[in-house]
């Protein structure tokens, strides 16, 4: 069985607070909302489940051996039940229009069949949900421009649907240059908004040296 401390990325001597912080950071990363439209939603869900299990094990072990100073056991903040999480729109109430079967095909990565069914629907039957699902097919395939355009149309046709809005917002945020999983700047805007620390300078130089070297040069000869 994998070491739960390794999954959380902390040492065995870490304090409870360190463990909880590590859990929170990883939970933000693997949160189902980040992978709602992804063809790898189930992989993310498994990782979330592993994380929750590791956290439970560590905290239980500590409580039983008296290491933990926490009076109350903190509960994992993100539910990891397989049937709820890992589906597109698990957290939203869905307005469906008989597209259930197409949704299921997309969730199980049967994109060709899903697209055939979608394309079979005549123009007058193509509502917001149709555009959202077509966009999801494109997103899974990697045609991100087309996905964005379709999510845009879905939101235009149904501005109140939170599922379509969330998908569109996520892509618009990424399009501006934000990278969610960045361990250096978790979920904050990594802009050059004035001021840079010694760390930023060093990091920048190392990166420049790295890129330089891979082109055959050497910016900093000692590293």
């Amino acid at each position: 069985m994998t070491d739960p401390y390794k999954i959380l990325g902390v040492s065995q001597n870490a304090t409870d607070e360190e463990i909880q912080n590590a859990y929170r950071e990883l939970a933000k990363k693997y949160h189902p909302d980040n992978y709602a439209d992804s063809p790898l939603a189930d992989v993310a869900n498994q990782k979330m489940q592993e994380l929750n299990d590791a956290f439970d094990r560590v905290m239980n072990e500590r409580r039983l051996s008296g290491i933990s100073s926490a009076e109350k056991q903190p509960q994992p903040t993100v539910g990891g039940q397989a049937e709820q999480v890992g589906e597109p729109s698990a957290n939203f109430s869905r307005e469906t229009n008989g597209f259930e079967d197409i949704r299921r095909l997309i969730q199980t990565n049967r994109l060709v069949e899903a697209e055939e069914l979608l394309d079979g629907i005549p123009q007058n039957g193509r509502d917001a949900e149709w555009y959202f699902l077509k966009g999801s097919v494109y997103f899974s395939r990697g045609w991100l421009d087309d996905a964005l355009n379709h999510f845009n149309t879905a939101c235009r046709l149904n501005p109140n649907n939170p599922e379509y809005r969330a998908a569109l917002n996520r892509m618009m945020w990424q399009r501006q240059g934000h990278m969610g999983g960045n361990p250096n700047q978790p979920y904050r805007v990594p802009q050059h908004t004035g001021g840079c620390s010694a760390c930023d300078v060093c990091q920048g130089l190392i990166c420049a040296d790295c890129c330089c070297e891979c082109m055959g040069g050497d910016l900093i000869s000692c590293c």
């Binding site: 990363k29 693997y30 980040n34 992978y35 992804s38 063809p39 790898l40 992989v43 993310a44 498994q46 990782k47 494109y138 990697g142 045609w143 991100l144 421009d145 087309d146 964005l148 892509m171 945020w173 990424q174 399009r175 501006q176 240059g177 934000h178 990278m179 969610g180 999983g181 960045n182 361990p183 250096n184 990091q203 920048g204 190392i206 990166c207 420049a208 040296d209 790295c210 890129c211 330089c212 070297e213 891979c214 082109m215 055959g216 040069g217 050497d218 910016l219 590293c223």
Partner: protein, 289 residues
């Protein structure tokens, strides 16, 4: 700092492997993409890769720590050779007289290298060959969009990554990483080469999208087309980061993090700062001297 020593060692190891498996000229094709691919495949491997001290081919006075020849470096080197052959073919087709001459000069050697790689990895060669043929026909389609134009390159790299031994889930994650990386390379080239493609009447998906076929000597306003390309590249790298986080890396996460979260966006920033490929390469040569 140790991680960058490791990155350099993998890079050096790939150089050695290219020379060993495909002749000395192969070393000159060493690129960023395949060093990254090497690192990725080594990162998911169960057993630790081995390193050794060797003389540098480019500078025989230096001894460097090099990744030892292994399945992973041979794999990456072979993929590089096959892709190179098809790229040269493509260049030959798209170029004027001097470009054709240059490509012709290199093609016989590249063709031999590709045949060798094909013997070692027949499946990989078949996949790349098929996708490059699709690239050719995609570029003659008047309704082509950037997404569709990037697809063959993206799928080529995606299929290559699935040839790496891995668990079922890892393979799915690697496929998507390969796809998005191939797409990133294609779109970044399309952005970088937009002005030159216009001048030489070469195919560029953004010139097609914005209906910018060459009319006269003056370069038209490419701002909108470029902004569109930048948006698409950022979307791609964002999703690449998201997907990469699902990988169970046994080692090299810090280096790979730096490449994905700093290196790739930095390349885009360099292009936007107006540095052409030649300028970036020139600066690197001056640094070396």
């Amino acid at each position: 700092m140790m991680e960058f020593d490791t990155y350099k060692a993998v890079y050096c190891g790939l150089c050695k492997q290219l020379g060993k498996a495909y002749g000395p000229f192969a070393r000159m094709t060493l690129s960023y993409d395949f060093a990254f691919l090497s690192l990725l495949t080594l990162g998911v491997k169960d057993r630790c890769p081995a390193f050794q001290w060797e003389r540098c081919a480019a500078n025989p006075l230096k001894h460097k720590s090099c990744l030892s020849a292994c399945d992973e470096s041979l794999f990456a080197a072979s993929a590089a050779m096959i892709m190179l052959y098809y790229k040269l073919l493509d260049n030959y087709r798209d170029s004027g007289f001097w470009g054709k001459l240059r490509s012709l000069f290199l093609l016989p050697w590249a063709s031999r290298a590709r045949k060798k790689a094909k013997k070692r990895y027949p499946e990989m060669e078949r996949i790349i060959g098929e996708e490059m043929a699709k690239q050719q026909s995609a570029e003659t389609d008047p309704n082509i969009t950037p997404d569709r134009a990037a697809e063959p390159s993206a799928r080529a790299l995606a299929e290559i990554t699935t040839l790496i031994p891995a668990t079922e889930n890892e393979r799915r994650v690697l496929y998507r990483i390969g796809y998005l990386l191939g797409r990133w390379v294609y779109l970044t080239d399309a952005l970088d080469d937009m002005a030159e493609d216009y001048r030489h009447r070469r195919f560029n998906p953004y010139l097609v999208k914005y209906d910018l076929s060459r009319q006269g000597k003056e370069l038209p306003d490419l701002t909108q087309a470029k902004e569109d390309a930048v948006g698409a590249i950022r979307l791609t790298v964002g999703e690449l980061g998201n997907t990469y986080e699902l990988l169970d890396l046994k080692r090299y996460k810090p280096i790979l993090d730096n490449i994905i979260y700093l290196g790739l966006p930095n390349t885009l920033a360099q292009i936007l700062a107006g540095k052409t490929k030649q300028q970036r390469e020139k600066e690197d040569t001056l640094e070396e001297n």
